[in-house]
Symmetry: C2
């Protein structure tokens, strides 16, 4: 296991950045944070997890590793301005739910050999430093896109996430973005559209049973983050949404023609795939359950 650098920089003290700061401080690292929001900085200082923090990127000058904990387009936009302050960083990574654009931006900024794209599948619908907590990444899948990184840098990033309890899955950026369009972004927008549909029909959240609360829970996710993810993964997401749209069209046709066998077959397909008891086996911790 490669050692943790003495000083680790984090850009963005939201749910993910704040949780990283808590874990890193707990491991004894000096955490320096770049964050524009005074309230988040104040809260992080009150939690006694920062060595230094402020809006100025010079704070990163001495960091041996730097993590961009930002939405994907924000990260791409900030990277050129941050790059001059990443000279001491042995490795640099990010945490966004899309990976192609940030790898291209890292290469353009001359960081290719030292940059690995990370995507920890953790966080739930909370947002902001107030929702951060220690141990957030324990048991979470972490996709790692090494791109042009050296083997040393890839191994260091891998080791870093494993120290936080993550389960690392190396993957090419294009395949990551395609898979996450289906497995992560489609469920988000299905839940969001379902919620908006119920809202417009005059249904109140108190009318939902436990199943309806589950199906719409993701709608509470941070809108600004998901607007960026949708824009950044628009092509793959549109393909996934098109398939869901077509599936609903088929179901509508079956209902209208009284084709109970087709309705039953769809229900059976979903049931076989989802299973009744997969939750406990797949992720005993279910870290963001209930948010």
């Amino acid at each position: 296991v490669s050692p943790l650098p003495a000083t680790v920089g984090i850009v963005g003290l939201g749910l993910i950045g704040g949780s990283l700061a808590r874990d890193l401080a707990g491991l004894g690292a000096r955490v320096v944070a770049v964050e524009r929001d005074p309230a988040s900085l104040h809260a992080a200082r009150a939690a006694d997890i920062l060595h230094a923090g402020g809006a100025e990127p010079e704070l990163l000058d001495d960091a041996g590793a730097v993590i961009l904990a930002l939405p994907p387009r924000t990260a791409v936009g900030m990277l050129p301005g941050l790059a001059p302050h990443l000279r001491r960083a042995r490795w640099v990574t990010d945490v966004a739910g899309t990976k192609t654009s940030i790898l291209a931006a890292a290469r353009a900024a001359g960081l290719g050999p030292r940059f690995v794209g990370s995507h920890p599948m953790a966080g739930g619908t909370g947002s902001g430093f107030g929702a951060s907590r220690a141990g957030l990444f324990r048991g979470a899948r972490v996709y790692l896109c090494a791109g042009e990184a050296t083997a040393d840098v890839a191994a260091a990033t891998h080791g870093f996430w494993e120290r936080l309890g993550g389960v690392c899955v190396p993957i090419a950026a294009g395949e990551h973005d395609r898979r996450c369009a289906w497995a992560s972004h489609l469920p988000q927008f299905a839940a969001t559209t379902l919620a908006a549909t119920l809202h417009r029909a005059g249904i109140d959240t108190t009318d939902l049973g436990a199943g309806g609360r589950d199906a719409t829970r993701l709608a509470a996710s941070a809108a600004a983050l998901w607007t960026e993810l949708a824009a950044d993964n628009g092509g793959h997401l549109a393909a996934a949404l098109e398939a869901l749209h077509a599936g609903l069209g088929d179901l509508l046709a079956a209902l209208r023609s009284g084709d109970a066998a087709a309705v039953a077959a769809l229900l059976e397909e979903g049931r076989r795939w989802r299973g009744g008891e997969m939750d406990a086996a797949a992720n005993p911790a279910e870290p963001d359950r209930g948010r």
Copy 2:
């Protein structure tokens, strides 16, 4: 509070019927159960909650109250054959997720004045006696459709569910079926169609994060039950599915034209409606969370 009859009949020992039998036995009632499946009867006898059980409707002859714990079309189909054995029953009710058809069937069977349609919103995705448990209805909303029932019968049914911890909501059958098409049946079929879509795209359930697991959890529901509910509420359900289908079409158009403002507005609408922290307040118990 009207007293519980000494003998209560239950038709169907699935998740709901089995849970009712457990609660009623716990309250000291003699439970007689009509159930065709020998394994369910065996399990209920092993749980020591039955006074008598078997396939023959004559078991209900002495019951002072009878509950049909069956899918809606099964209940409608069985009611004429059961009616001659409900003469001693002071009140008769059911538990299905649609209410118009069963009220019509009860009236046709001459049970109108003694029949109230019930819909306890409890159960989750489990099914069968093996998924039943005591206390299932504690804190659950129970819709009550009194139809042509006498005031005494309506009050007795109301009192019965309150004794099991239910929160009763009287409602007209037509309004119930419309509201549940949106608040219950639409989330079910959204989750089912989402699951089938992910299955066809080659996504594995282990690729899901906690949010994706939430959004697809309902897909694990019992297919036979939901085939009946869809058939029995087809008109209202088609209207709700049509609205979701149109909403997804609008989102697709926004994505394809790069209209980030429209995507952001949809996300914000869903977030405002669903809220981030409504779960704990709405239902502290969340009885079927995690199934």
